[in-house]
């Protein structure tokens, strides 16, 4: 260590990078990605100015514009006098985002009973005996293999896709909640009973309250699998949605639309993750 502070060693476990360094390093890979993309795009456009595999910056901007402002092909065209807001609200990106988000949030709501079931399995021995073995087995069923059955049972409408997401993520979230609730020290439960708690008090006011931040973290980790099942359902049988549009654009080699769509989906998931992380910090300062 020097007199002015710790020496700069990239491989030093005890290193303490300053704030500026941390910020710069965290953006570095984004920058490298953009540079590499530009490099490849420029190289391909030199060979073929009409190349659509790696669209140029101008093509991407045009793609974003058409995704935001243009209607899907299957819809009736708007009047030429339509305002910008009307064009945006009838545009591909907005309509697809609303459709996919509706499915996504309905599935998230339907996952709440799965979380509660996991909690009850961990707390009530009879519920554990009844459900645990079955869900340990059910969790191992590959959810996508259930898709044909779901299409037969629920049709190819919304519910088959929503159920695919619930069946895909529900058991994992349930077993995760079960494990988290089981890890609450036994002393806490005993103590709560000596403080005249009922079984419901212990379940909801002692255990659930304690494990809620960990459950929220578990939901955060399961956002991507949830989106994955949503995309699988939408790509196979849908008439709208973000994944449907990507599947359609693939047929037309529309990379100028696909890439903004991919980035938009990632940004939405990142925002949701950040929101949950923020909520966790604000609601559970003790965690």
């Amino acid at each position: 260590m020097s007199a002015t502070g710790p020496a700069f060693h990239l491989t030093d476990i005890q290193g303490r990078p300053r704030r500026l360094w941390t910020q710069s390093l965290s953006w570095m890979l984004f920058l490298v990605g953009i540079l590499l993309y530009s490099q490849f795009s420029v190289a391909r456009h030199k060979e073929n100015p009409e190349d659509r595999v790696i669209p140029s910056g101008a093509q991407l901007i045009q793609g974003v514009k058409s995704a935001v402002l243009e209607q899907p092909e299957e819809d009736d065209p708007l009047d030429a006098t339509a305002t910008t807001w009307q064009r945006v609200s009838h545009g591909m990106l907005w309509r697809d985002t609303v459709s996919s988000s509706r499915r996504f949030f309905i599935s998230l709501l339907l996952l709440i009973p799965a979380i509660l079931l996991g909690l009850h399995m961990a707390v009530f021995p009879y519920a554990e005996a009844f459900f645990l073995r079955f869900f340990l087995f059910f969790d191992k069923i590959v959810a996508l293999s259930l898709l044909p059955i779901l299409f037969i049972v629920f049709g190819i409408d919304e519910w088959s896709k929503i159920m695919l997401m619930v069946i895909g993520v529900g058991p994992t979230l349930m077993l995760d909640t079960y494990n988290i609730a089981k890890s609450v020290p036994r002393e806490q439960v005993v103590k709560a009973f000596t403080l005249q708690s009922s079984s419901l008090d212990v379940t909801y006011r002692v255990i659930l309250k304690q494990i809620l931040p960990q459950i929220i973290n578990s939901v955060r980790l399961n956002l991507k699998p949830l989106a994955l099942f949503l995309f699988a359902g939408e790509m196979i049988a849908s008439t709208d949605g973000l994944a449907y549009r990507i599947a359609i654009m693939r047929r037309h080699m529309g990379m100028d639309i696909i890439i903004p769509y991919l980035l938009w989906v990632a940004a939405l998931l990142f925002a949701m993750d950040a929101l949950l992380r923020f909520a966790n910090r604000r609601l559970h300062p003790w965690y």
């Binding site: 806490q188 009973f193 000596t194 403080l195 005249q196 309250k209 304690q210 300062p285 003790w286 965690y287």
Partner: protein, 318 residues
């Protein structure tokens, strides 16, 4: 109609009041263990007996300290009284009723994880009396908020009595030191005014000075209100300083027909501060006597002596 139901529910739950004995000298049995045995099945199919034919009567107001080697059944005894475990044979009664589940008859202070991490100090201490006063629905009534206000004052007084400052009341347990956490845990248990207070090596994770100060505080608290306390410890000095009665348990040996109780004696009481008592000759003698009875020479000691004697043996053989 709903309001009437809530009020009825409210009436069925009352804040535990300080127990007043008709005759202060009356020594009713608070904890009774009758012919209690506890055994566990081992993987080999055999049975491991932890407690064997244990008979114990603990009177109200006694400060009973249970001492013994690891594996002698101290914590099992505590769990039996708590209702966390049940005897294979025999019965356990607390406050005149058979123990069939964990309930508010016993206050409990474990060695760690004693506080709810998601609640502040004040919320932790008020949690029990709030439960005792009303159920979920009755919390909507104005009388609950009036009760809460008076309870807050009582909780604050108890916390201050345990050495906490008002600035600590709104801290979370993880923001407190180990000693502070145990003080809050004791306050939390005492505010419920349980007939019996169970402490499972409650001070063993603390540093010596914090431990000494908590011992003194516990001693003072017991002298003030005389609750029945069952205190499990490994520490001989702590046992002699705090208790009015000492029970030394020994591990049960296969084929042994005797009970686990090796020693059951009344301890002398004194009004001196514990730090002064600790330095007296009587205390030292008693400590040596109990140590001699309670603990066998450990394997480590035998090994250490063998190593010390080794050069002499080598010299002798040469």
């Amino acid at each position: 109609m709903v309001l009437t139901a809530i009020r009825r529910a409210e009436k069925t739950r009352v804040m535990p009041r300080k127990r007043v004995r008709k005759n202060p000298h009356e020594a009713e049995t608070e904890i009774a263990l009758d012919n209690v045995s506890v055994s566990y099945p081992l993987a080999s199919g055999a049975q491991k007996t932890v407690l064997h034919r244990l008979n114990l009567d603990i009177r109200a107001g006694e400060f009973v300290v249970v001492l013994g080697e690891t594996g002698c059944g101290k914590s099992t005894l505590l769990r039996l009284v708590l209702g966390q475990e049940f005897p294979t044979e025999g019965t356990v009664d607390v406050d005149g009723k058979r123990v069939r589940r964990i309930d508010a008859r016993c206050g409990y202070v474990p060695q760690k994880y004693a506080l709810f991490p998601d609640r502040t100090v004040m919320q932790n201490v008020m949690y029990g009396p709030e439960n005792a006063f009303c159920g979920w629905t009755a919390r909507l009534l104005p009388s609950f908020w009036r009760f809460r206000k008076s309870l807050r004052a009582e909780a604050a007084a108890m916390l201050q009595r345990m050495g906490l400052r008002t600035t600590d009341f709104h801290k979370y347990p993880q923001q407190l030191s180990g000693g502070m956490q145990q003080r809050v845990a004791i306050a939390q248990a005492l505010l419920m005014r349980p007939p019996v207070l169970l402490m499972d090596e409650a001070f063993s994770a603390l540093d010596p000075s914090t431990r000494a100060s908590l011992q003194q505080q516990m001693h003072d608290l017991w002298q003030e209100s005389r609750p029945t306390i069952l205190f499990v410890t490994h520490n001989t000095s702590e046992a002699i300083l705090l208790g009015t009665r000492l029970i030394v348990l020994k591990p049960h040996q296969e084929g042994d027909q005797e009970s686990n109780v090796l020693l059951d004696m009344q301890l002398p009481q004194s009004s001196e501060p514990l730090s002064v008592r600790k330095k007296t000759r009587d205390f030292e003698q008693l400590r040596e006597h109990v140590k001699h009875c309670a603990f066998r020479e450990s394997d480590f000691e035998v090994e250490r002596r063998a190593v010390q004697e080794m050069p002499r043996r080598v010299e002798a053989s040469e």
